[in-house]
Symmetry: C2
Subunit: 416 residues, 2 copies
Amino acid sequence: MVVELISVGTELLLGNIVNTNAAYLSEKCAELGLSLYYQTVVGDNQERLDETLKLALGRSDVVILGGGLGPTQDDLTKEAAARTLGKQLVEDAHTRRRIEGWFQTRGITEITENNWKQALVPEGAVVVDNDNGTAPGLILEDNGKTVILLPGPPGEMKPMFEKDIFPYLNKKQPEIIVSETIKICGMGESRVESMIEDLIQAQSNPTIATYAKIGEVHLRLTAKAENETAARKLMKPVIRELKVRFGGHIYTTDDAVTLEEAVVQLLKEQELTLTTVESCTGGLFTGRLVNVQGASEVLKQGFITYSNKAKRKLIGVKKLTLKEFGAVSSKTAKEMAKGAILTTGSDVAVSITGIAGPDGGTDEKPVGLVYIGVSVKGNMRVEEYHFTGNRMKIRESAVVAALTLLRTSILETIKF
Amino acid sequence: MVVELISVGTELLLGNIVNTNAAYLSEKCAELGLSLYYQTVVGDNQERLDETLKLALGRSDVVILGGGLGPTQDDLTKEAAARTLGKQLVEDAHTRRRIEGWFQTRGITEITENNWKQALVPEGAVVVDNDNGTAPGLILEDNGKTVILLPGPPGEMKPMFEKDIFPYLNKKQPEIIVSETIKICGMGESRVESMIEDLIQAQSNPTIATYAKIGEVHLRLTAKAENETAARKLMKPVIRELKVRFGGHIYTTDDAVTLEEAVVQLLKEQELTLTTVESCTGGLFTGRLVNVQGASEVLKQGFITYSNKAKRKLIGVKKLTLKEFGAVSSKTAKEMAKGAILTTGSDVAVSITGIAGPDGGTDEKPVGLVYIGVSVKGNMRVEEYHFTGNRMKIRESAVVAALTLLRTSILETIKF
């Protein structure tokens, strides 16, 4: 089955936004085992949109169009699809009710007329509910061809694709595709790859792909089979083997769980309270933990001790330590974590101090040098890191390293 | 002049990488005042590449192809261009010497045979030196059409485009293009647009475009003229008018300056030190300020007072205040900022407390309710906000609102 993507939006042609939707949809199509030969971007222009859609329908079985479903006159995608397939636009009562409900929940009683344009659908189209906006997705089947219309905003498109479009396309295939993700922290990509070289070379079904994020590596297994049970059965021995090889470095096998969620969950399970003390990351680490809903159960407070004075006054780092070893030192990281425990009485403390650059580095203490301290129920551990990249990259690397060290330290404490 | 982009690379069709090159090149074309109607991505496949190039040459004056210039058998772009325009590939002596030099500088003496493929160019092509790799860029002019070939890696393509291709295209144009950006905070997009409706309707040269970010609106003016001086002259009265209309809401007219940079700069100029106290944003606000190099000059420390106990113990919010008004209240925001000043002796304090959701909202205090307090040299101000969106969006909106309120409060204090 050959699929093709068309992204609609003048803002893409002006370079105002990067087409991350195309990358996302292409990745999903590859996962589904679909052949994708073309991606096209076209503006909010009727003639060029019609022409592009016709060309695509001539050479592909499935055409996915993204964008141009909104309420303004610039939004032309639905009209182009209806025109090209020779369908009338008719009002969908279900969608009209959903649009009404959407505005009601937001306390808006006067709905401007142009919004009702979003309730018009080509006759015979399957309507796909949009849980994060007002424009529904649409699936049109005609003469052996399929046209799928998706909203442009990633926050609307992605959940809709995951929930409804992916299963729809998967069902159209003779064999279905099932994926599992194994998320690894505390190991670089090249080390992970060298540890599974033999598995990657021998792979056919399931396949294994590695994806590197800052401080993390994700392994994605994909199996093809007649049904889900058969696909999962194919993956089972490979997953078992990966668990043996990576052990505690695997923080989750659930694609939806982030590293900060895994860490907050671990703190909750162990009924541990946390205090943070950040210097070079300046709140980013705590901010990341607070992304997790319910983080307040474990995180009670944090200190951003950016200056030396703040390190002394707020959490009692010794003047002599700062003078002899410097603010960026193992000793200071240790006293920061210790001070946080003494000041607040929490079970766990994490401290981060480093040189994010671009200034402030020396031969002895170069830009990218970071110390992270973790104290769990009295067990203290301080690690030294050397990160590369710009100021932001170094700070983000430090945040992920701190999450990883915190997780490891808790797991070690549980063991004893 | 109509221009079109073709990105060549199977890795784009698999979604392994995001097509940032297309966004970059599109933005540059817009800057140049070129009309760009299509972007296409096609894989490393001879037939489909030929077909795509032919289609593009039929409808555009200039076709820019990116990628597929490397030394491997998969790299087919040069061959496709030569074939389509009916040119022979001939070895370019200058490029051969540059490739030799490239490897020599890197201490590589044995150059594998396939590398010489990169010295082959279509006869009559203008060779554009690649300062960051071995594959040169190429410009082909034929029958009133122009084909430009660029290497795929952004680190090679961008410097080459800036240095040689941009001036080449600008020279092809009868008029050049100059842009200026005006950045506005503390006003929504629709309000900004309604305030310049007359200017937008009357616009021709310069044009005005609005771009909305979370909590910010950017106005981009673009003028077309014979030379830069003439273009800037055209923009001058419009910029003056915009400054009158938006006054203190304009935080910069420098495209490179971010809101946090403008705020840190203002604090530095006024020699003010800052302490932050964050609840629902949990460090994000301070983390954003610390993005700015040299933030340590003004930011000495921050408190993340996530729990009620932390609000009381660390910065002295009264128990009675929390009990009577709640943690998310104007009174608590005020005491947080006041407590920060008393505890640390800094000149300025910013406090943020709110309900980021998705849980924790009530009829009286819904999700999205945020109070921000700012104290500047004893002048206290607390504002109430109602943000929408998910947990992350609400927290990011609060961060930008806090930056804006901090900026406004300092500017007001200076006035008196």
